[in-house]
Symmetry: C2
Subunit: 506 residues, 2 copies
């Protein structure tokens, strides 16, 4: 067995002898066996014991492990936590709370001691239980493939891996090893308690299924081995399409390019979505089928619209940046106009974001809400995200009139200077803001309704810059100017405003 | 439910109304429901009933289905088979024998009636049982993905697909439908018999597992849905690498190019091997883990050598076509010599073949065993697979001597014409054949030992051409000439023999 584990340590766990390895030791059979094996093989081990303080024997167990470690001349570190309180506070099962605390402790210590990896004692039996647990709860490949000899669970650390050298060793072999080596493990009494789901599997379900197929465990173990390789191919494929599908990453959000995601086979769409979720919420375990399917259905809906909640405060939001331009009348833009707004996000994208995330908005002009900025003429004001507003004074002439009539560009305005009350202000909308847009015969319309009609996404409306003359709205950039400020035959001075995107590269 | 099945028929089974569909109807709830649904939806159905003659009620059931079909104005065809005898003769389980006979009948009839597909009544419950059965027996993705709405099981037909429109409908829904429509299915009493593995799953295992997770069936059904998509990505990838990996296909064999197969990820190696097996043995179901792993281990063994048995009379055989040239002394070949043997199979390949298969052998000269051919001088004899042997007479000269000394090419021979007993014969080895190869000081060696020493694969030895002078072996082409026929200082006439590959293109 020593030889088998030695070979796994080298070829599957990629552990070397020249850097310490942090080993979580509960004192139970598995970790005790692994500790002894690593000692015999001459590895540098830092023994980490986490006292869950859940049972009466917790303290004496801590002491047992300490004694053994000292005899082996290994460094010994301990952590403690009140798991019961932690579980209650965070609405977690005891088992889950214990797991989170224990792994948090081990990886934190591994970083401090510059360990190459954290090692745990999961066995072949644990693997079988994991596979079966996932199967009964419902899982895809990511669950059915079970645990890995080597993984980088970035929940706990960006660089330290988690290794499981005993993943191919059966509990029975460990028992025999311990007897042979005259080692006495502590008995975790909770193992005998059918309270925990996993224990029910171990003591009831697996023995029952073995009555149907005596080779069940070996078969399920092999299934995991094989599915792990299948999963890894899909994982690599997902890696390959990542850059094409993910257009932006930021604090609490990812932007998916809709078209390439739609082109992926279903399987890779699911992989991609799971990967995105794990990036935004690395601690989230076992994302359920239904959440993923909800997302997949949303993404593939031919009349995709709006948003859908996914899981754990994450949502998908569909946006199409043509809406504004298409709906703001039948405006023909010059090529240069279109160029001005290119170099941005793709036409159609789907945001995956946490509830609180501040999604970027570079394709529309935006300003900080509830602020006022004076617009000096001539002058230029910098808005958010590389957008600018430029103000210049023109004399009325046939040339100017032709120009503004010719280019019905909603991102430029030609206003009658004399009708305006200077200085102009730039601010976001206020409750009750209305205007009579150019072309409307009678009455006025709420600014918010105008924005809704033009299909400006809700999140952009709140930050949309308005040009204010006195108490009146003179221009809603990108949409309309107010009827009252249009150029008349008598107009002498013209205010030309232009709002545009100018990335740093240009 | 009608609407749901209609949508599945169109979008997942790709069934149209302008061509008949062959429906297997046992008279049980599932097929009866499907028959009624197809009738209501206005499909053209050919009803096929197969009488397994296993139970007393078999004949009355056949009659029941006939009556119903006549009422619906559908064509009705029946088949019969003595399943019990068939099973005993072929050493099959009753269930397996029934399945083979039934599907054979349905596809045969589907071809006759030009049906677009064969349809069967598998339900969502059947799907769950299939997944669970595979899991408990041990299976990879190909088993865990369960059955498909649409498949092309080329075991039965190259062009007619198999569809399962009820794969998303639960047995309970079918029961309710039958009550509502006032339809009385026959009761297959074997369903209530725990003799069959599947029935044990249905009546014992699933109810037990449902006591652990009440949503088990729904979850397992979804698992299959999801794994099917994952499998399909891997299947497409396998398709992509196929041409690179498979160098030759023939009656009972495939030649795998060793290097590209080794470069594949494990998962795709397994997929490729399974696909190869299914091509050579389309009827083989549920190839087990162990056989595949034996093959994978063989393929990835850094010191791969010889052969390994796989499954159902299939074996893998490794060959490297350098062996001969490398081991036949330190022979430096001119480029042109190497060219002469290129355009063949890759240097290293692995045959997957059935026991009886006649593997092609184009890279070595071969002839039909136990035949004798005269070699006329000058003249040319055609061997197997585009190999030829050319004989010409030369006068001894300094030029000739230099030539044969310079090019130590084992595929050419310069012999002392006067020592030879004409006409020369070409034949394969006989028991007891020996020669004293050029360079051997004393005694002689068995031809078979010489071939083994030179690592000529067993299957090529039996067809290797030998050049015979009287009772003696004058030349083993590719290996050595006999000491007694070498050119001496006194040699006047020289026989120049040359054996070479010449494909039709050249």
């Amino acid at each position: 067995m020593l030889e088998r584990i030695s070979s796994v340590l080298i070829s599957k766990c990629l552990i070397t002898k020249d850097q310490p390895l942090l080993l979580g030791v509960s004192g139970g059979p598995d970790s005790l066996c692994l500790l002894d094996v690593l000692h015999q093989l001459g590895y540098q081990v830092i023994v980490a014991h986490y006292n869950h303080m859940l049972r009466d024997e917790s303290n004496s167990e801590e002491e047992e492990v300490r004694k053994l470690t000292t005899k082996m001349n290994f460094q010994y570190i301990t952590g403690r936590g009140d798991i019961r309180s932690y579980a209650e506070l965070n609405n977690l099962s005891l088992e889950e709370a214990a797991r989170i605390s224990r792994y948090g402790f081990m990886f934190q210590q591994a970083e401090i001691f510059n360990a190459q990896a954290v090692s745990v004692g999961h066995t072949a039996d644990d693997q079988v239980e994991t596979v079966l647990m996932h199967l009964l709860r419902g899982a895809g490949l990511s669950g059915l493939r079970g645990m890995s000899y080597l993984s980088l669970p970035n929940t706990w650390s960006q660089s330290i891996s988690l290794v499981r050298p005993l993943l191919g060793v059966w509990r029975e072999e460990i028992q025999n090893y311990l007897i042979e080596r005259n080692l006495n493990p502590t008995q975790d009494t909770s193992n005998l308690d059918v309270r925990f789901y996993r224990n029910r599997l171990r003591h009831e379900v697996i023995p029952y299924l073995e009555s149907i197929n005596p080779h069940l465990c070996k078969k399920l173990w092999l299934t995991a081995e094989i599915l792990r390789e299948d999963y890894s191919v899909l994982e690599n494929l997902t890696e390959t399409v990542w850059d094409k599908c993910i257009m932006a990453e930021g604090e609490g959000f990812l932007a998916l390019a809709h078209a390439p995601v739609q082109d992926l086979p279903l399987s890779l769409q699911r992989m991609l979505l799971r990967k995105c979720i794990s990036i935004l919420n690395p601690g989230l375990r076992d994302v359920d089928f239904e959440s993923i399917e909800r997302g997949i259905k949303f993404l593939n809906n031919p009349s995709i619209y709006g948003r859908v909640d996914l899981v754990a405060g994450l949502y998908l939001l569909y946006e199409k940046n043509e809406d504004l331009i298409e709906s703001s009348n039948d405006i023909r833009l010059r090529d240069s106009e279109i160029d001005r707004r290119s170099n941005l996000l793709p036409k159609e994208r789907v945001w995956l974001a946490t509830w609180g995330a501040d999604l970027p908005n570079t394709e529309w002009p935006q300003i900080v809400p509830n602020t006022e900025t004076k617009l000096v003429i001539p002058g230029e004001v910098l808005l958010e995200g590389h957008w600018r507003i430029l103000a210049e004074r023109l004399e009325n002439s046939e040339e100017v009139t032709t120009q503004f009539k010719d280019y019905e560009d909603p991102f430029q305005a030609w206003l009658d200077l004399e009708s305006l009350q200077l200085p102009l202000l730039i601010r976001t909308r206020l409750p009750g803001d209305r205007l009579q847009p150019l072309g409307m015969e009678n009455g006025s319309i709420k600014v918010s309704d105008l924005m809704i009609n033009c299909k400006i996404p809700r999140r952009s409306r709140e930050r949309w810059p308005l040009i204010i003359s006195g108490e009146e709205i003179a221009w809603v950039p990108g949409l309309r100017i107010a009827q009252g400020f249009q150029i008349k035959e008598t107009t002498k001075g013209i205010l030309h405003l232009s709002i545009f995107y100018q990335s740093l590269q240009q």
